[in-house]
């Protein structure tokens, strides 16, 4: 983990409200693991937004680090207005990572909305280790789809769900997964997405291990402020920023 000033290489719109930001950082490229995130200080002098904003590292090409994000509020709006050559202050890599052993069989990866961003590099890593990977991606509609080609290049099967049915399965990505899970013997499941999606996956009570990347509002991002705590079994407290963001889905409460 380091504080880095990086120069924006590219900051482009890739779908409705969705942007892809990239910069060069040898340190981050060499030290990050799938699931890690960074804390971006969007504007040093700003008092609103005040806090850093957490974003997953989507993927890395050589020394170039890519971060995909959705414009949802003031911070991401300002970030989307930055252009090539501007310098941003980044703290990372932060958090734990997805476990990427060889599972000797098929692995399912499920992503919803911006939760899809950290999964591309996970799929790549899983494939590199000789696993077979089925990825299930959920989007709102055709116009909010992103990175799909990237997943198709890597994964054995790329299955799409959209809320309005404009592409792939009409409905939620969890329903799509449920429809397929009975035919496939997955050895392990990884997921990232909004809380209701993760809750639905947890409620499936899968017979295999399922790891989920969680989100919580964060201030420090490194385990010092205790703002991002979540309850585990037996009232054990975990900190999403430092014990996570990736957890065994059965070990934590998802409210």
């Amino acid at each position: 983990m380091k504080l880095l000033d990086v120069e924006i290489e590219e900051n482009v719109k890739i779908a409705n409200d969705i942007f892809l930001l990239s910069f060069e950082s040898e340190y981050l490229a060499e030290n990050f693991k799938p699931g890690n995130f960074v804390n971006i200080l969007i504007d040093k002098e700003s008092i609103y937004p005040l806090l850093r904003r957490p974003f997953s590292i989507s993927f890395v090409e050589g020394k170039r680090v890519y971060i995909g994000y959705k414009v949802v509020g003031k911070g991401t709006k300002l970030l989307s207005q930055k252009s090539k050559g501007e310098v941003i202050d980044i703290l990372g890599p932060l958090g734990n990572s997805f476990l990427t052993d060889t599972f000797d069989g098929k692995v399912a990866v499920i992503g919803g909305g911006v939760g899809i961003f950290p999964l591309l590099v996970l799929c790549k890593e899983l494939k590199n280790r000789g696993n077979k990977v089925d990825v299930f991606l959920g989007f709102r509609d055709l116009n909010s789809m992103f990175l799909v080609e990237g997943f198709k290049d890597i994964c054995d099967n790329t299955l799409i769900a959209t809320d309005d049915g404009s592409r792939g399965y009409k409905g939620s990505v969890v329903e799509l997964f449920k429809a397929n899970v009975s035919n496939e013997e997955y050895k392990v499941v990884f997921c990232c997405g909004p809380k209701p999606m993760l809750k639905a996956i947890k409620n499936l009570n899968l017979p295999v291990k399922c790891y989920a990347s969680l989100e919580e509002k964060m201030a420090c991002g490194i385990g010092a402020c205790l703002c991002c705590s979540i309850k585990g079994k037996d009232d054990k407290m975990y900190h999403v920023c430092s014990d996570g963001p990736v957890f065994d889905i059965m070990e934590v409460e998802i409210e």
Binding site: Y48, L50, L51, R52, G223, A224, C227
Partner: protein
């Protein structure tokens, strides 16, 4: 330039202290910055028993500040002593333990355990995020007197009493603490606050209200330091929204002997170095020989 300050005989190499609850037990930030740069570290609030704190969401951002309701999540005093203190002791800085009781007896008990293990104790009579103890005690000058006195009786190290701004007249609390034998007072803790999501009409903090910190509270804090400086003789440790050296200087001029920095640690972990350097350059530029000359040195 001499940045050394003294609080009840304890010398701090500089007046910049990490504020309780914003620096954990030092471990996390030690991977990022040189902690010996701090004059002292004030620990996350410690209670007798382990506490899991309040439900999520515990944090929201508002204009120029954040509202938190962590609710004193901490591993309890025993785990603190066994697992966190050895690390803290290895750092080249002074250690202040921030303690929280739900009864007077608990404050006394905590003090007995910690008094010989740390450099100073900060008695938190101001946490807004718990239902008993904390600010509930800290709003009543009689209770502040009573608890401070009981802690004073069993403490062999200096004690600092941390005050809440959520009262009409904070100087009454300051005076009560001084009369009961506090060695210093620190102010301010967070300001009771609330924010609502207008789409869902739900409060943004699960506990409905929480404590506001950051730049939004600085003018309130400066005013309170100034008022207390006129009423008490013991040193004042000022805090609330300090983001840079200029903010810090205001607190010294208002009457603070030392300062604590909190929320800024989350945004700029290097703030302590920048604030220290800024204070030094300011003193030189203005022709002061030491930080002491600046304390309470206001032109009205």
């Amino acid at each position: 330039m001499n940045l050394e300050v003294e609080i009840a005989g304890i010398k701090l190499k500089n007046p910049v202290i990490a504020a309780s609850g914003t620096f954990g037990f030092g471990r996390e930030y030690s991977k990022l910055i040189d902690i010996s740069e701090f004059g002292a570290i004030c620990t996350k609030g410690i209670t007798l028993k382990k506490r899991i704190g309040n439900p999520q969401p515990r944090l929201c951002e508002v204009y120029a500040g954040i509202i938190n309701s962590v609710g004193l999540e901490n591993p309890g005093v025993e785990a603190f002593v066994n697992e966190e203190l050895p690390f803290l002791k290895g750092l080249d800085t002074k250690i202040i333990a921030n303690i929280n009781g739900f009864t007077k007896e608990e404050f006394v008990e905590l003090t007995k355990i910690l008094t010989s293990l740390v450099d100073m104790i900060e008695v938190n009579l101001s946490c807004p995020n718990v239902k008993e103890g904390g600010m509930v005690f800290g709003k009543d000058p009689k209770k502040v007197y009573e608890i401070t006195k009981s802690v004073r009786n069993v403490a062999s190290c200096p004690i600092i009493v941390k005050l809440t701004p959520n009262v009409t007249d904070i100087t009454q609390l300051a005076v009560a603490a001084e009369n009961a034998g506090a060695d210093a007072i620190s102010l301010i803790n967070t300001v009771s606050a609330m924010a609502i999501d207008i789409e869902t009409r739900k409060p943004l903090i699960k506990m409905v209200t929480g404590g506001l910190s950051g730049p939004a509270i600085k003018p309130i804090a400066v005013r309170m330091v100034y008022e207390c400086f006129k009423k008490v003789r013991i040193p004042i440790i000022g805090m609330g929204g300090i983001m840079n050296y200029k903010d810090a200087i205001e607190f010294f001029i208002a009457g603070a002997t030392a300062i604590q920095i909190g929320t800024v640690n989350f945004i700029n972990p290097k703030a302590v170095c920048e604030i220290k350097e800024g204070i030094e350059a300011y003193l030189e530029r203005k022709g002061f020989n030491s930080i002491k000359e600046l304390v309470g040195n206001i032109n009205i």
